[in-house]
């Protein structure tokens, strides 16, 4: 009952129950702890990863549903040194406690792939991740900065 999928470009497979949330498969079985547990109900977005490029809340996504798909985590994004979103986040010193920021960066990256020049309204609609430190001012600035650098 092995479930094969790609994790940051590498083929992997998980031997275990299909209903195990992807978040815990990635954290506990594959040891990638950049994705966080925040609410367990898919609401806060701290667990966001890309599934075939789409931002997905993985604390409520059964691993059985990602069979054969390409999963990308924050570690995968960080492996690309030129990643514009991460660079903007660093330039603006967005994180405070930082716990939600992996999920924020994953959602912002997916948004910019879909909507390369987002308006503030686009940002409000896409960025439903929660940040208790309320780093939202700099998140918005960083998204606009990343969009500008991707354009040029």
């Amino acid at each position: 009952m092995s479930i094969p999928f790609q994790l940051n470009g590498r083929p992997v497979s998980f031997d275990g129950p299909e209903d195990t949330p992807l978040l815990w498969v990635v954290r506990e079985h594959f040891g990638l702890t950049g994705s966080k547990f925040g609410c367990g109900i898919g609401m806060c977005g701290a667990c966001t990863m890309h599934v075939d490029g789409a931002a997905s809340r993985t604390c409520v996504l059964a691993v059985g549903n990602v069979r054969g798909r390409a999963i990308r985590t924050i570690e995968g994004v960080a492996a690309d040194a030129d990643n514009a979103v991460r660079k903007a986040w660093n330039d603006l010193d967005v994180p405070q406690c930082g716990y939600c920021q992996s999920g924020m960066i994953m959602t912002a990256t997916a948004m910019l792939a879909d909507t390369p020049a987002p308006t503030d309204q686009d940002i409000d609609r896409w960025m439903t991740n929660l940040c208790r430190c309320a780093t939202y001012v700099r998140i918005r600035q960083a998204i606009h900065a990343a969009a500008r650098s991707l354009k040029s």
Partner: protein, 734 residues
């Protein structure tokens, strides 16, 4: 792992453990320096003061004793040391240190201990770190002078080196450390003048940003110890309730990965190989709890208690200036009265409470998101029976805290689980457990009454606050004794110590004891007190028909430091130019007095509402702060931006209600947080002053809600008097 029984697991040998500890490192140090050991460093390190460690290769490591919860301690505090030391800032490493007197502080009159809170880290450690850095620099210079046989005045320092200003020769600190360590430290080394600062007072990039954007920053949640099991917990739904029985124990034991069921007086911990296995098993748990004594506790009851206190004949006097009760009593027809109410709140940090515990006969190691170091050590020692000096905390980055990770109950639960199974255990609270079993910000109600002069300014004010006491529950020796009983000054913080000129002023307090666990939460009592006080001032100015800013100016006329901040925010927002149609504004002021008189910070805010459709929304917030010298402008501005958002969450959304003895809210569905679309623009205004650094982290929180309520009064003609301000009070009125 195979073949281990629940309780008979062999302990991991100490040697093996230390290898692990070294590999895991201090959580904090991992992203920047994976080789630094958990604490104390290596034997090869040469120590200059309690804070500065230099290795043979010349690498400088600075000690950090204040947890990084997001506020920027990981950058600002080492920068103070590095500046006086003239260290090579980009090259220095930072590691977690604990266990020495130098790392301890007092918020008030309690025994000194190592902990973070009360906006005091920079205030309390500024002088200590400067002296430490300067004393270390001084012995390095003397060592170099001796080596070169030149006077000390021929030596200068820069970027981790001593330079001979005559010959141009240079020696790195690493080459001098051994000799320097043999020289006596000066208790009064020469400190830099502000003009000489290279780091202090600048906008420094955070040292932890890169690790927080590539997934490598290690939080308590990410702790990994060989042989570790994972645990989830279910606690009594009723406060003070206890576990009677588990009805499906056999079924739970058979679940995949389950290793043990640990009974607590008030809950059940399921220990499994993986956390998701423990979580699933806990979700299947069918346990019977006795509600205990508090089964009837409800918000309705809590409100009724507080209301009856507001109207009680007398309270415990916190302040009596002049004779306000007599003046109010003689002029009953002229009394202006307002009442206010704030609920209990949960901290709801993004990282749920968690701790990883490894108990061995001769030591206990704990990894976790812990804000109060020494209090946790005491609890761990008590439960495990291992002496306090054999308890080792490894504190990584905290995924937020806001005061929530001070109470060490979650640590105690993890210790019990680890002892029960004889193996390291990581216990993670689910969001539901984190919110429902938080130690809450207490409720409060206020009744304020005044008689004003012919111009509308207060002659006499009586402020009464009633609610659950934070100190009575958590710090009984912080209560203020009076002949009529004790009172909790945090309940009237922002009122009894407010800055306006009021000739006759009476403040009293009535506690309504409740069984609800409560704790400090960012801005503590002032989050209620400043709302009550500033909203009441709004009412008085409104009744007098005087502009809100100028009314406050008049009351602060003898307080130039306060006026400077109030004027700065008014100027930034162009207050004296009336807002265009579709906009409304509110202004508020507070002087925040640090716990035990540790600091004084002035703050003024202006909220701008914008009409959108049939509602008003908070669109922009101006925030001016005089917190003395600002050590790091970058994180100072971040604290203002984030603190406004944090406060807006409380103002618009947060409320813990109780029914049948327990909290009704349990996740972000019913305890929602602010979203990015609701975040206003924030305009920070730093009012420079030549005082040393004053508290910052909590200061911007309290004045926001009263500024909103005043803006709503202007926009809608109604001023809300109950937090949170629900959407209906933002509706545009005809």
């Amino acid at each position: 792992m195979k073949g281990l029984t629940r309780s008979g697991a062999p302990s991991i040998g100490r040697r093996r453990f230390l290898e692990v500890a070294a590999a895991f490192g201090a959580l904090l140090a991992v992203p920047l320096d994976p080789t630094v050991a958990a604490e104390g460093g290596t034997d090869a390190d040469i120590e200059l003061t309690d804070w500065i460690f230099i290795d043979a290769q010349g690498g400088v490591t600075l000690g950090l004793c204040q947890p990084e919860v997001g506020q920027g301690s990981y950058t600002a505090l080492p920068a103070i040391l590095a500046d006086e030391l003239d260290a090579d800032w980009p090259a220095v490493k930072v590691r977690w240190v604990m266990g020495r007197d130098a790392y301890k502080l007092q918020f008030r009159n309690e025994k000194p201990s190592q902990k973070e809170g009360a906006s005091t880290s920079t205030t309390k450690f500024y002088a200590r770190l400067r002296v430490a850095g300067a004393a270390a620099r001084d012995v390095l210079v003397r060592a170099a002078a001796a080596r070169w046989q030149v006077p000390v005045s021929d030596c200068a320092t820069e970027s981790g080196m001593v330079r001979n200003i005559r010959t141009g020769a240079a020696l790195p600190y690493g080459a001098l450390a051994a000799e320097a360590a043999r020289l006596p430290l000066s208790p009064t080394p020469r400190l830099k003048t502000p003009a000489e600062f290279r780091l202090i007072g600048k906008a420094l990039p955070r040292r932890d940003t890169a690790a927080k954007t590539d997934g490598s920053a290690k939080y308590g949640l990410d702790a990994e110890v060989p042989g570790m099991l994972n645990a989830a917990i279910a606690l009594s739904p009723t406060i003070g309730g206890w576990l009677v029985r588990i009805n499906n124990e056999a079924e739970i034991r058979q679940q995949p990965g389950v290793r043990a069921i640990v009974r607590l007086d008030d809950g059940v911990i399921v220990v499994a190989d993986r956390f998701w296995q423990a979580l699933r098993a806990v979700q299947m748990l069918d346990a019977t709890f006795s509600p205990g004594e508090n089964g009837a506790l409800s918000t309705e009851l809590i409100d009724r208690l507080a209301d009856s206190g507001l109207d009680a004949e007398i309270g415990v006097t916190a302040l009596a200036r002049g004779d306000a009760p007599r003046i109010l009593g003689q002029n009953p027809d002229q009394v202006i009265e307002s009442r206010f109410s704030v609920p209990h709140l949960a901290h709801a940090a993004m990282e749920p409470m968690n701790a990883t515990v490894h108990v061995q006969p001769d030591r206990v190691d704990v990894w976790g998101s812990i804000q109060s170091t020494d209090a946790s050590v005491a609890v761990i020692s008590k439960i495990s029976g291992v002496p306090e000096d054999k308890v080792h905390l490894h504190i990584g980055f905290l995924g937020g805290s806001f005061g929530g990770k001070i109470a060490p109950d979650f640590v105690a639960q993890a210790v019990r689980a680890a002892m029960a199974v004889g193996r390291p255990v990581k216990l993670i609270r689910t969001r539901e457990m984190d919110i429902q079993h938080d130690h809450f910000r207490p409720n409060n109600k206020g009744r304020l009454r005044a008689v004003v002069d012919k111009d509308g300014y207060p002659i006499a004010v009586h402020a009464r606050v009633c609610g659950q006491s934070l100190f009575a529950t958590t710090r009984p020796n912080w209560l203020t004794r009076t002949p009529l009983g004790d009172y909790d000054e945090s309940m009237v913080d922002g009122i009894y110590n407010q800055s306006y000129k009021i000739p006759n002023f009476h403040v009293d307090v009535i506690q309504t004891p409740l069984p609800i666990p409560v704790y400090f939460m960012r801005s503590v009592g002032s989050s209620a007190g400043v709302l009550f006080w500033e909203s009441f001032i709004t009412d008085l100015a409104h009744k007098a028909g005087i502009d809100q800013y100028h009314y406050r100016r008049h009351l602060l006329r003898n307080n130039p430091a306060a006026l400077k901040v109030l004027d700065a925010v008014a100027a930034a927002a162009s207050w004296d130019t009336p807002p265009p149609p579709g906009r409304a504004r509110g202004i508020s002021f507070d002087t925040y007095h640090g716990r035990g008189g540790s600091f004084v910070t002035h703050v003024a805010e202006i909220v701008e509402l914008v009409r959108k459709g049939d509602s008003w929304r908070v669109a922009r917030v101006f925030c001016a702060i005089d917190a003395g010298l600002v050590v790091n402008h970058n994180t100072f501005v971040a604290q203002i931006q984030g603190g406004i958002g944090f406060s807006l969450t409380s103002a618009l959304k947060s409320e813990i209600t109780f029914n049948r003895g327990g909290a009704e809210q349990s996740n972000f569905t019913d305890y929602p947080l602010l979203s990015i679309g609701e975040m206003p623009d924030v305009v920070p205004i730093i009012v420079e002053s030549d005082r040393p650094p004053q508290g910052v982290g909590e200061i911007m929180v309290a004045p926001l809600a009263p500024a909103i309520s005043q803006a709503l009064l202007q926009a809608t003609g109604r001023r809300p008097d109950r937090m949170p301000f629900r959407p209906d009070v933002f509706k545009v009125t005809a």
